[in-house]
Symmetry: C3
């Protein structure tokens, strides 16, 4: 049984920028030597999220449009004047924290035959909800044998 710890380093543009992690994850699994188990990916930072989608510009754009509509940069009205988070820090990324809490900061993917067992039209993605470009280091843990 192996516990392999690893990292994925990426640059993002912020504003719901969505990064396909498939190739990064394949490299981590290869380095782990694990054939069967799970791969866990985590974003240390409360303005990002991990999920899966079909990684093509349409589906990626739909997710951004959904969040722009349902958790917009400027809140839609009462009970908000401005997001309460902005009142705490005079910050501008209240909606980023909201989106991150809704999507969640982690995902686990099954490893089978030394590969991530995803669907053909399914990719694991990091979404950066922050309001500016960011360098992100994601934590990867692969457990299996």
């Amino acid at each position: 049984m192996t516990v392999h710890i690893d990292k994925i380093e990426i640059k993002t543009e912020g504003d719901n920028d969505t990064i396909n992690l498939t190739d990064h994850l394949a490299e981590c699994i290869k380095r782990s030597g694990v054939s069967n188990g799970i791969a866990h990916i985590f974003c240390p930072g409360s303005t990002g999220g991990l999920t899966a989608t079909e990684f093509e510009p349409g589906a990626v754009g739909d997710l951004k449009a959904w969040f722009d509509l349902h958790a917009p940069p400027t809140p839609p009205g009462p009970p908000w004047g401005d997001y309460f988070h902005h009142e705490t820090w005079h910050d501008d990324n209240g909606h980023s924290h909201l989106r991150s809490s809704l999507i969640g900061p982690d995902i686990s993917i099954p490893v089978r035959n030394a590969r991530a067992r995803m669907g053909t039209w399914q990719q694991v993605v990091f979404v950066d909800f922050d309001t500016r470009p960011r360098d992100r280091t994601l934590e990867v843990t692969i457990i299996g044998e």
Copy 2:
């Protein structure tokens, strides 16, 4: 320490059809021989989701109604004419990808005394957001001892 890999095969009706996985998961845990650890379930496919709820028609219907209201089959207006995903593939399941990304494709459940440690009124469910009936094979990984 054991890594047990398994599958759950189900048929769904699509359109937010919600399947109670409790009995399937119990069988996987029994086959694994694991007493204490975690059981991870994953949907390979970007139009399904894994979560938990009280599995009774009311709560299941509320989740479907929520998605029909907040991520409807036909988008609610600007910036959308049609979902951007439809423009990519002339497809009809843009809202299915959206719902799947929001719920997420995986869940992990604690295993205690060789059983899934759920609440009395809580069941682990697969929700099929696709627009047609589907045969689904979910990947199960049980790690523990």
Copy 3:
């Protein structure tokens, strides 16, 4: 390789009460003796959720306000008269189940050097969506070496 099972016991006020689990989780990791791996936290009960945020009153209040707007205690209109879950049980917490299914009942956090590897401004939280104060026992599983 270790599988450490543990519990976190908390009292909540219900109504989206958000509890910072950081110190509880640190104690579990210390008891586990695990240096590198993952820590999984699960809520047995279908009216709670696990996620991460910046734990300050503003961001916590934004999440409550978002749910009060998008999954309110009284449903916003058709297809609902009342939540369908209420019609099943003459209960009052249909929106609690809805919020719980959307956030999900579990989260996994990487363990590095015997500590939870979170962001500086990021905390793991339990959100109690139920309509009354609750005593909650969360299940913790730490796997690693």
